[in-house]
């Protein structure tokens, strides 16, 4: 059975904006699924409809076989939601937030308290249980929202950009935690702007742009199709002009940084051999963090404006995250 099945989902907002143009999507039970797309693509709108915070205009949604029109409560009971924007009661204590949420899902008081404790401990927030939520840092609020989404042990966990604004260490531990609960059987759907995140966590992926699914495949298949990787090489000495590297596009970013494209079928060995031959010594090397950008370039004809903003966002994220990868 599919954890989620969407058919012809359409959303037109009150102001006439069409955010979703009839999307179809299936997520298998047990999957770790990424919904990837640029700003305003319709990710949050889709998730809003799944979690009944947004009214759909047309289409059908089934959650573990429960039709959201006919069996809304049964469908809702299967889902745990971590929204994109903080929606906590600032004056409520952490423990109370979780106990209440468990109560809304029908857990008896005693059970609710047990679950609240378990979830707060698992997300590393137990020490703060008597604090009010407005005293938490941004990253802690995000973790609290994850704890809150898990308090009723949902079969399907939906996270809308869970790692936005979370530091690298917490991000790593969040990733590990999500993988753990996925391995234990919870189906997970997350949205992200970062292909790296999707690649690290997810098995399957849908790419959404301007309210349409433009790609829906496995991460592996997708990455296999990406036929170029760009590496940044830090050089030992300064170069006045780029070395001769037949078969590779390359350019000097600055006198000691070289950007080289490696296409499918080319080997790094031959690249380094060619560099050595010309007396160029490479001190270190890293991926240029632009693979999402390339992906979008391949999948959609992007106008320059959006490309620029994607690049800027990624640069910001790199600065904020201290350069993941």
């Amino acid at each position: 059975m599919n954890a989620l099945s969407i058919r012809g989902l359409t959303k037109t907002y009150a102001n006439g904006l069409v955010a979703l143009h009839g999307i179809d999507l299936d997520v298998a039970e047990g999957d770790f699924f990424a919904l990837l797309g640029p700003n305003g693509a319709g990710k949050s709108t889709t998730i809003g409809i799944l979690s009944s915070l947004v009214n759909k205009t047309a289409g059908k949604v089934h959650v573990f076989g429960h039709d959201m029109d006919a069996e809304l409560e049964a469908a809702k009971a299967c889902i745990g939601l971590v929204p994109q924007e903080v929606n906590l009661n600032g004056f409520e204590k952490l423990f109370q937030v979780l106990v209440n949420q468990a109560g809304y899902y029908g857990l008896p008081r005693r059970r609710a308290r047990e679950r609240a404790e378990t979830c707060l401990r698992e997300l590393g927030l137990w020490d703060r249980r008597d604090d009010i939520t407005r005293n938490l840092s941004g990253g802690m609020k995000r973790r609290l929202m994850i704890a809150r989404a898990l308090v009723h042990q949902p079969r399907l966990l939906i996270l809308d950009e869970p790692t936005a604004g979370v530091d690298i260490e917490i991000r790593r531990s969040m990733w590990a935690y999500l993988q753990e609960i996925n391995a234990a059987g919870t189906t997970i759907i997350l949205t992200t702007h970062y292909l790296e995140e999707a690649e690290h966590l997810c098995r399957n992926i849908a790419i959404i742009d301007e309210g349409r699914i433009i790609e829906n495949t496995s991460i592996r298949a997708l990455l296999r199709r990406m036929n170029t990787e760009v590496f940044m090489l830090t050089l030992d000495g300064d170069l006045a002009q780029p070395p001769e590297l037949p078969g590779h596009d390359c350019r000097l970013v600055d006198p000691h940084t070289l950007e080289v494209a490696v296409h499918r079928g080319q080997s790094l060995n031959s690249l380094f051999a060619a560099l050595s031959e010309q007396g160029v010594t490479v001190v270190s090397m890293r991926n240029r963090n632009n693979r999402l950008e390339q992906l979008f370039l391949q999948l959609v004809r992007l106008d320059e404006g959006r490309l620029e903003s994607t690049r800027r966002r990624e640069a910001d994220a790199r600065l904020a995250g201290g350069g993941q990868r």
Binding site: V54, E73, K76, N89, Y104
Partner: protein, 257 residues
């Protein structure tokens, strides 16, 4: 099984609402107690002595039920309007909206919270009043049922206000421009038989008049309006407002885009 499925979320909302207004009791319980004490001191003890009797009883005894009712109405209303609007504003209303809680349970939960605060404040004011007033109780069942039903009615009113409210101003407009005037003109301080005939007729259009008078009947055994009409009106209003409220939340007015 199915009872608990609805009862637990209901209970959760009620407990949370109760915790909210008791936690901020200085803002929620104390002010009405002080205001109402002033009414009793000024209208009851100071001015009331000169007025003498109203409707055959000392003035302060006559106005006491209306003042209690006024406190109940205001607090039942404002508890729901500020709590629900606050939840919309901070968006934690989404915590309930994503959960498998039917909309009628949400309504009942918030209304019960408002009724709880209305009755608690009513009780506090009654205790204050007992220092100034010699309470007689003509019919306890009427006292209890009228105050309970009235607080349900105004808690529903507060919820509808909160559903439509888009900014903080919107939650004070109705209390200031509609509720307070209607309450003052609702026969809290006088019997409408004192008014010229035309204004008597006009007063009868004011629903709060019926609630105040029915409540007063429970204490003093006298009313400007028939009791059955008062009950019919209150219950009728409750049914209409509840249905309207349910319809609004089902549509997602003000809470879902």
């Amino acid at each position: 099984m199915s009872f608990w499925r609805y009862y637990i979320p209901f209970e959760t909302i009620v407990i949370r609402e109760t915790q909210r207004y008791t936690r901020i009791w200085v803002q929620t319980i104390v002010p009405p107690a002080i205001t109402m004490t002033l009414y009793f001191v000024i209208f009851g003890s100071l001015i009331g002595r000169r007025i003498g009797e109203m409707g055959g009883v000392p003035f302060v005894d006559y106005i006491a039920p209306g003042i209690i009712m006024m406190a109940v109405i205001t607090n039942a209303y404002s508890n729901v309007v500020s709590s629900f609007f606050g939840a919309k504003f901070q968006r934690h209303i989404e915590e309930i909206l994503v959960a498998p809680v039917p909309n009628w349970v949400i309504i009942l939960g918030y209304v019960a919270g408002g009724v709880g605060r209305g009755l608690l404040v009513g009780l506090v004011v009654t205790i204050v009043a007992s220092f100034f007033v010699s309470f007689r109780i003509h019919n306890l069942a009427v006292v209890v049922s009228v105050v309970a039903l009235t607080s349900v009615l105004f808690a529903l009113g507060g919820l509808i206000n909160a559903i439509f409210a888009k900014k903080f101003d919107d939650i004070s407009i109705v209390p200031t421009f509609i509720l307070t005037p209607l309450t003052y003109l609702g026969g809290v301080f006088y019997t409408i038989s004192m008014l010229p005939e035309f204004w008597q007729k006009v007063s009868l259009v004011n629903p709060i008049l019926y609630m105040v008078n029915a409540f007063r009947y429970g204490f003093l055994g006298q009313s400007d309006v028939p009791l059955a009409v008062a009950y019919g009106l209150i219950i009728g209003f409750i049914v209409v407002l509840f249905c309207f409220c349910l319809w609004l939340i089902n549509r997602g007015t003000g809470i879902r885009s």
